[in-house]
């Protein structure tokens, strides 16, 4: 999922003694394979991850690690395990999340199984570094999203990000990681932009996988940036792992007018974020999800109500393996025209 393979690989490489196989970048081939072996009406992340698992197995992997829960996704690894076994692959698959919860004891046992010589102290040390790395990456990403639409030199942000991530791969202690992060943050701030003070601002919310994997949302953020728009996105790994519960509780408190009970996955957070974006004078909201995503379908009428109360435009996209790219481009272009017209 996006650049998160870097910290994931980093952690596994440091704590277990095994050969790590990096799954290839998602391409049309991935989704083609995933589509072929998935039930038709399952949501798209299932198809993407199944495709990726098959590609990894073909590259010689024999232990697969999945990380998912919160909605139907929690059952995915079981079903995927069965599909892959039926296809004749030999492997072990571990889902680090069980029944929607991250059980540390269970994860410890899994790691012990993969590598018997696993050192707990060393493990905790590198978990801490990885945690920091994800946090820093998300912060940098936030800054990039705000500014990449205004870069003067083409690709300057992406190039600098790749340079930073390359350096991140070889850090060995939290201090050097922190120094690197601060150094690169300064470099990012020095990159030339021509951002006007009152630029158009759009918030992107919705279902977690589709939001974070650019291939699955047809590079929506890139498309938005090409219209010189500042982008705000709340969902990232840092949110999913560490501030999910807090945000949901906050959401229930702050949006009492719109919902009484907690909704599945990130639906409650999305209501809260919509309100936040509206109150902070954003020009528009884009809600994206994979087709058939139940929690996000459930939240759409509520978002409509919030958007109506605050008079902020919101559009919805459902992405599937067979979505037409042209249709998406037309809608984004029209959305841009609309928010620009509203400004005037």
């Amino acid at each position: 999922m996006a650049n998160y393979y870097i910290p994931a690989r980093y952690l596994m490489e440091k704590i277990v003694d095994a050969e790590i196989i990096e799954s290839p970048f998602i391409t049309s081939k991935t989704i083609e394979i995933g589509n072929k072996y998935s039930p038709e009406f399952v949501c798209t992340p299932f198809k993407y991850t199944l495709g990726t698992l098959i590609e990894s197995l073909d590259m010689g992997a024999n232990v697969l690690i999945q990380f998912g829960g919160g909605c139907r996704y929690g059952y995915y690894s079981e079903l995927q395990k069965q599909i892959l076994k039926d296809l004749g692959y030999k492997f072990e698959l571990y889902n680090l999340v069980t029944a929607g919860k991250t059980d540390i004891k269970r994860i410890y046992k899994i790691i012990k199984k993969i590598d018997r010589k696993f050192n707990t102290f060393k493990g905790l040390y590198y978990i801490f570094i990885t945690y920091k790395m994800v946090k820093y990456m998300d912060k940098i990403d936030d800054y990039i999203r705000q500014n990449i639409g205004f870069e003067v030199e083409k690709n300057s942000f992406t190039n600098l990000l790749n340079e930073m991530l390359k350096k991140f791969k070889s850090v060995n202690n939290p201090i050097s990681l922190s120094i690197l992060y601060h150094k690169y943050f300064k470099k990012f701030k020095k990159l030339k932009t021509n951002k006007p003070k009152n630029c158009l601002k759009v918030g992107v919310i919705g279902e977690l996988y589709t939001l974070q994997e650019p291939f699955s949302n047809y590079y929506l953020e890139k498309e938005l940036a090409s219209f010189n728009i500042e982008i705000k996105r709340f969902t990232n790994v840092n949110y999913l792992l560490f501030s999910n519960k807090k945000t949901t509780n906050k959401a229930l408190k702050k949006t009492k007018k719109y919902m009484k009970y907690k909704m599945g996955a990130d639906a409650s957070s999305n209501v809260y974020w919509t309100k936040y974006l509206a109150e902070n004078k954003y020009d528009g909201i884009i809600h994206i999800k994979s087709s058939f995503c139940t929690p996000e379908i459930g939240v759409m009428p509520i978002l409509d109500k919030v958007a109506n109360d605050y008079n902020i435009p919101i559009i919805y996209f459902s992405f599937d393996a067979n979505t037409s790219e042209v249709g998406i481009k037309t809608r984004i272009e029209a959305f841009y025209d609309m928010i620009e017209m509203r400004r005037k």
Partner: protein, 313 residues
């Protein structure tokens, strides 16, 4: 006299409008696209040219509709814009206080909400063709009725049949069933018109507040049966402009006027050879289909690449 050309190339029909500086329509044309936008536009230009003389100077060309990018290249357009914007601008020029635009075209349908002349919300149908013109025309063929007679026939019905219109495939099998049990043709046709309206409101219009004045346009707006059920179900007056099918072309012509440069445009495109070749980029397993557009055998543009690995040459 300065004039401006707007071309709207849809999936089913191609529309062209030439306006003067005061947005008056000098001439217009409406022809079938027949799956070949380049030829259709060549034909369209010939028709439009008949009403022009040496006094008229084309100062701008704009394109919209699903083939806007390709035709924009062919005509050297100074503006290429999406249909939503074009329809809104076109309608606003005739009805400045419009609040809702219902548009049903050949292949897609949309709803545009406006307030004080500004687009505040819009939606386009996403996955389904059940509420569009192509479905109506295919069903007209199945019942061997001329599409022009479809609306008037529907008005004759006093008892429209209920048709499961969630999806074209189910709608068609339901339709066959209704015909086989002996329903009258006009009742079936009326049921179809009603189903188009219900499907539109449940799909594209879901959650949207439809306020009057309501304008209905796009090819399907010519169908008086559909119009009748829109009025009945929305319980409000629905306006159909005599030029409702030309709104997109008119809108893009106005946008062209606003963005005019001092260039003078030539409409002699008959002999321009225009072709598209698709190649598959082998840079990675994405296998992007790259469209290369040739004008007189010279590469003028290419698109379809996801990354920069593919270099234009």
């Amino acid at each position: 006299m300065n004039c401006y050309l707007g071309v709207d190339i849809g999936s089913i029909s191609t529309k062209g409008v030439i306006i003067d500086d005061d947005n008056n329509i000098i001439t217009s044309a409406y022809i079938w696209t027949e799956g070949n936008p380049v030829n259709a536009v060549k034909k369209l230009i010939e028709i439009l040219k008949k009403d022009l003389d040496s006094r008229h100077v084309i100062k701008g060309i704009g394109t919209t509709g699903s083939a806007r990018k390709l035709i924009g290249l062919l005509l050297n357009a100074n503006i290429v814009k999406n249909e939503i914007m074009a329809h809104a601008i076109g309608t606003l020029s005739l009805y400045p206080d419009v609040k809702t635009i219902l548009e049903i075209g050949g292949q897609d349908s949309k709803i545009i909400l406006l307030n004080n002349g500004i687009i505040t919300d819009y939606a386009m149908n996403t996955l389904c063709a059940a509420g569009t013109g192509s479905f109506l025309s295919s069903q007209a063929k199945r019942l061997s009725i001329n599409i022009e007679d479809f609306g008037p026939l529907a008005l004759k019905s006093t008892n429209p049949v209920k048709i499961a219109a969630r999806c074209t495939v189910f709608a068609e099998s339901d339709l066959i069933h209704k015909a086989q049990v002996g329903y009258k043709k006009e009742d079936i046709v009326a049921g179809l018109c009603k189903s188009i309206v219900l499907n539109y409101l449940n799909n594209v219009g879901k959650g949207k507040k439809i306020k009057s004045p309501v304008i209905f346009q796009g090819g399907v707006s010519k169908n008086v049966g559909v119009l009748k059920y829109f009025k009945e179900i929305l319980n409000t007056d629905v306006i159909v402009d005599p030029n409702s099918h030309l709104m997109g072309a008119l809108g893009i012509a106005i946008l062209t006027k606003k963005n005019k440069t001092n260039r003078v445009y030539d409409l002699n495109i008959q002999n321009i050879e225009f072709s598209t070749k698709a190649i598959e980029c082998k840079g990675c397993s994405n296998n992007c289909e790259i469209l290369r557009i040739y004008k007189d055998n010279k590469l003028v543009d290419s698109w379809g690449n996801r990354c920069d690995k593919y270099i234009k040459n």
